[in-house]
C-alpha cells in the first residue's frame, strides 16, 4: 500500500470516528428506516454491563424486524465507556443526528448526567435501563432529566431501604458492615442504604474499597474484628464475587447482601458456588431467563452466543420495546416519540405495566425484587 493511500485511509477512518453516527444513518435514508441510538460502556473497565445490555437491545430489535414491519428500525451504537467525560463527547454526535428518534441509555448515571445537556438541547427522548442515581428524576436537582429522560429501573431511593430491610430480615440483633466500591453507583446506593440500617440495626463499620480491587483480606480482617453478622456490599458482581469468597475463606459465617449491581447469573459461579450460597440480593431488574419464554431464550442465545444473560438485560429489553411500541403506532419523529412516551402505557416482558411520571420514573416505582442464591442459582424470593 503506498503512502498516499495509507494517508487517505487514515483521514477516512478519522472522519468515520468523528462523524460515524451521521454517516450510518444517511446511508439508510432511502429505505423506510428509523434509528434508535444505544449508549453504554462497550469498551473499558465497565464493558461487561454495556455489552450485556446491547445484547438485549439487539434481541428486541431482531424480534421486531422479524415481523416485517412497515418501518424498519436500526441501532446506532455509541460507546461512552461508562465515563462522564467520554459521554460528554459522544452525546453531541448522537444528538445532532436528526434521524435518531430515541435513545436507549445511557447505562451509567454519571454518563447520563454528562449527556443530558446535548439531548435536552435537541429534544431527544431517552430511556435508561440502568442509571439509578436519584437526582436524574428529582425535580429539585439542579441537573435533572426533565422532560426527555425516562428510566425503567427503580432509583436508589427505593432500592437502598429495600436492600437494608432484606439484608437484616430475620437476623437477631443485626450488626451491619457496609462496604461500597467508591463508584457513583456503589457510593450512591450505600448512602441511601445507611439511614435504614441506622434505623433498624447497628452499624458495625463501613469501608469503601475501590472497584477492581483484587485483595479483600484487610476488609475481611475488619469485618471479623467488628463482630458484624451482616455484610452489605454496594458495587458490581465481579468485585462482589471476590469479596464474598474472601469473607467465607476468612471464616465469616454471617449474611452477605448486595444490590442490583451484583445480581448477575455469573455471580454465584464466579464466587465459587458455596461462597455465594444464601447471599441476599435485590434488584429492580429481574433475571431475563426468569421472564423470557423458552423459545425467546433459545433465540437470544442463538443471536448473542450467551446462555446466561447478565444484569439489566430485562430492563434494556423493556426500554427497547417501549420505543418499538411507539414506532409501531406510527411515530417517526422525536416530538412524536416524546408525546408517546409521556402519555403511553406499556407492557414489560414480565407482564407489568409501565407508565412514566412527569419526571421520568415508573409510576408506583419499579418494584425492587428480593433474590437469594440456592444451589448456585439465583432464585427470586419476593418483593423486598
Amino acid at each position: 500500500m503506498n503512502k498516499k493511500i495509507q494517508r487517505s485511509l487514515a483521514v477516512v477512518s478519522a472522519a468515520t470516528l468523528l462523524f460515524g453516527v451521521s454517516a450510518v444513518s444517511s446511508a439508510g435514508a432511502a429505505q423506510k428506516t428509523v434509528y434508535l441510538a444505544f449508549q453504554a460502556p462497550l469498551t473499558g473497565a465497565n464493558a461487561l454491563t454495556g455489552q450485556d445490555e446491547l445484547t438485549a437491545a439487539r434481541f428486541a430489535l431482531s424480534e421486531y424486524n422479524a415481523t416485517n414491519p412497515s418501518v424498519k428500525v436500526e441501532l446506532v451504537i455509541a460507546d461512552d465507556q461508562g465515563l462522564a467525560e467520554v459521554a460528554a463527547v459522544v452525546a453531541p454526535g448522537i444528538a445532532a443526528n436528526k434521524k435518531v428518534i430515541g435513545l436507549i441509555g445511557p447505562a451509567f448515571s454519571g454518563a447520563t448526567q454528562a449527556s443530558l445537556p446535548a439531548y435536552k438541547a435537541t429534544g431527544l427522548p431517552m430511556i435508561s435501563m440502568s442509571a439509578t442515581r436519584v437526582s436524574l428524576t428529582d425535580k429539585k436537582a439542579p441537573v435533572n432529566g426533565f422532560p426527555i429522560f425516562k428510566r425503567v429501573v427503580a432509583n436508589d431511593k427505593f432500592q437502598g431501604p429495600a436492600l437494608a430491610r432484606y439484608a437484616i430480615k430475620g437476623v437477631s440483633s443485626p450488626s451491619v458492615y457496609l462496604v461500597d466500591d467508591k463508584t457513583a453507583y456503589g457510593k450512591g446506593l450505600a448512602d441511601y442504604t445507611k439511614p435504614s440500617i441506622v434505623k433498624d440495626a447497628k452499624i458495625a463499620g463501613s469501608d469503601s474499597v475501590p472497584e477492581n480491587t483484587s485483595d479483600y483480606t484487610s476488609v475481611v480482617a475488619k469485618v471479623k474484628a467488628s463482630g458484624a453478622n451482616v455484610v452489605i456490599y454496594c458495587g458490581y458482581a465481579p468485585d462482589a464475587a471476590k469479596f464474598v469468597k474472601a469473607l467465607r475463606d476468612g471464616g465469616y459465617t454471617g449474611i452477605f447482601a448486595a444490590g442490583d449491581g451484583v445480581l448477575k447469573a455469573t455471580f454465584p459461579n464466579n464466587a465459587g458456588n458455596t461462597a455465594a450460597e444464601g447471599a441476599r440480593l435485590t434488584a429492580a431488574d429481574v433475571p431475563f431467563e426468569d421472564v423470557a419464554t423458552a423459545a425467546q431464550m433459545v433465540a437470544y442465545t442463538k443471536l448473542t452466543g450467551i446462555s446466561k444473560p447478565g444484569t439489566y438485560v430485562t430492563s434494556t429489553y423493556n426500554a427497547t420495546n417501549i420505543f418499538l411500541t411507539c414506532i409501531k403506532q406510527g411515530v417517526t419523529t422525536r416530538p412524536g416519540m416524546q408525546n408517546c412516551l409521556t402519555a403511553g402505557s406499556f407492557k414489560g416482558i414480565a407482564g407489568d405495566t409501565i407508565k412514566f411520571d412527569r419526571y421520568g420514573d415508573i409510576i408506583g416505582g419499579a418494584a425492587v425484587g428480593a433474590f437469594t442464591i440456592k444451589a448456585g442459582k439465583i432464585v427470586y424470593v419476593a418483593v423486598a
Binding site: 469498551t43 473499558g44 473497565a45 464493558a47 461487561l48 455489552q51 467508591k182 463499620g205 469501608d207 469503601s208 474499597v209 475501590p210 477492581n212 480491587t213 483484587s214 485483595d215 483480606t217 484487610s218 476488609v219 480482617a221 475488619k222 471479623k224 474484628a225 458482581a237 465481579p238 464475587a241 471476590k242 469468597k245 475463606d249 476468612g250 471464616g251 455469573t266 459461579n269 464466579n270 465459587g272 458456588n273 452466543g305 450467551i306 448456585g376
Partner: protein, 317 residues
C-alpha cells in the same frame, strides 16, 4: 481511623500483606529486568500478567479438563495439575514477553527511536492484548476451579496460615532467589548484567545484544507468569482488566525499591503489600492508594533512585 483492628488482626494483616507482596514482587521483576537492560519501561507487562491468569485457567479447565465446579484435588493429581498450570502460565508469558519485544521494541531499537516511541508502542501492544482478551471472553470474569483445598496449617496469633498463602510466600522466595542466583552466577546472567552496564562494550565483547534482550523479556515473562498462576490460585478469578491495578502496584513496587534492581523489587514488593494491608485496615480502603503514593513520593524525594537504587548496585540486572 480504626486502630482496634490491630488488636486482633495485626499478624493476620502482616501475613496477608506478605502474600500479596510476593505477587507484586514477581510481577515487578518483569518491569525491573527489562528496565535494567534497556532503561525502558515495559508497560505491556501488566497485560502479560493478565494473559498469564487466563493461561492458568486454560491449563486447569481447558487442557486438564477440570470443571469450574470441580471438587478440590489431592495427592499426585493435585501436584501434577498445579505444576502443569504453573509451568504453562510461565511459558506462555515468557514467549509472550519475547513477542512483545519483537513487536514493540526491536524495530524501534534498530531505528534508534526516542524513549517516547517505545512507551507508545508498549502501551499500544498492551491495549491490543487487553481488548482482544475482552472480546474473546465477552468481557466476563473467568473463574478458576478450586483445585487446591484451602486448608489451614493453623492459626498463630490471629494469623491464619492457609495453604495458598504459605505456598505463595515460599514459592515467591524460591523463585526470587533462583533468579537472583541466575543473574549473578551464570554465564547468561552475567551477559544480561554486562548489557545493562554498557550496551556498546558488551557488543565489543561478543555478546549478542538481541539475544540478551529477548532473554530478559523471556525471564521477565516467566516471573510474571508465575505471579499470574499464584494470583489465580489464591483469588480463583480473573478478568480482562485484572492487569491494570496489579501492574500499577508492581510498577510502583519496582520504583519504590529502585527500578532495575532485583533486590529492590523484592523488598519494595513486600513493603508495598504490607503497607496496603495496614493502610486499608486502619484508614479505610479508600485511603489505600493515597497512602501508597504519598509514601512513594516521600521515598523518591529522599532517594530519587528508590530505596535500594544505588545501595546494591552489584545486583543490578
Amino acid at each position: 481511623m480504626n486502630l482496634q483492628v490491630l488488636e486482633s488482626q495485626f499478624w493476620s494483616l502482616c501475613l496477608q500483606g506478605l502474600a500479596l507482596g510476593f505477587i507484586y514482587v514477581l510481577i515487578s521483576l518483569g518491569y525491573t529486568m527489562v528496565y535494567g537492560v534497556l532503561r525502558l519501561i515495559n508497560f505491556a507487562n501488566s497485560e502479560v500478567f493478565m494473559v498469564g491468569t487466563f493461561a492458568t485457567v486454560v491449563a486447569q479447565v481447558g487442557i486438564l479438563q477440570n470443571q469450574t465446579d470441580a471438587q478440590p484435588l489431592n495427592g499426585f493429581r493435585l501436584i501434577y495439575t498445579l505444576t502443569f498450570a504453573l509451568v504453562f502460565s510461565m511459558l506462555i508469558c515468557g514467549f509472550l514477553g519475547i513477542l512483545v519485544e519483537l513487536v514493540a521494541y526491536r524495530r524501534l531499537r534498530a531505528l534508534g527511536a526516542k524513549p517516547l516511541g517505545f512507551l507508545i508502542s508498549a502501551i499500544a501492544t498492551s491495549i491490543v492484548l487487553l481488548e482482544t482478551t475482552r472480546i474473546l471472553t465477552f468481557s466476563r470474569p473467568q473463574t478458576s476451579p478450586r483445585l487446591l483445598d484451602k486448608w489451614s496449617f493453623g492459626e498463630f496469633a490471629g494469623a491464619n496460615f492457609r495453604i495458598d498463602t504459605v505456598m505463595v510466600i515460599i514459592s515467591g522466595i524460591v523463585i526470587f532467589f533462583t533468579l537472583d542466583r541466575f543473574v549473578t552466577k551464570t554465564r547468561l546472567g552475567k551477559a544480561i548484567r554486562a548489557v545493562s552496564m554498557s550496551e556498546e562494550i558488551s557488543k565489543l565483547m561478543g555478546i549478542n545484544l538481541n539475544r540478551v534482550v529477548s532473554l530478559t523479556f523471556f525471564i521477565g515473562g516467566l516471573t510474571t507468569g508465575a505471579a499470574a498462576f499464584f494470583y489465580t490460585t489464591v483469588y480463583e478469578t480473573t478478568q480482562f482488566n485484572v492487569g491494570f491495578n496489579l501492574g500499577l502496584a508492581a510498577f510502583t513496587t519496582a520504583v519504590l525499591g529502585g527500578i532495575g534492581n532485583l533486590r529492590g523489587a523484592f523488598y519494595g514488593g513486600l513493603f508495598l503489600g504490607v503497607l496496603e494491608q495496614f493502610a486499608s485496615a486502619i484508614l479505610g480502603s479508600q485511603w489505600k492508594s493515597v497512602t501508597v503514593f504519598t509514601v512513594l513520593v516521600l521515598v523518591l524525594l529522599l532517594k530519587p533512585n528508590g530505596i535500594f537504587g544505588e545501595a546494591v548496585q552489584q545486583t543490578r540486572t
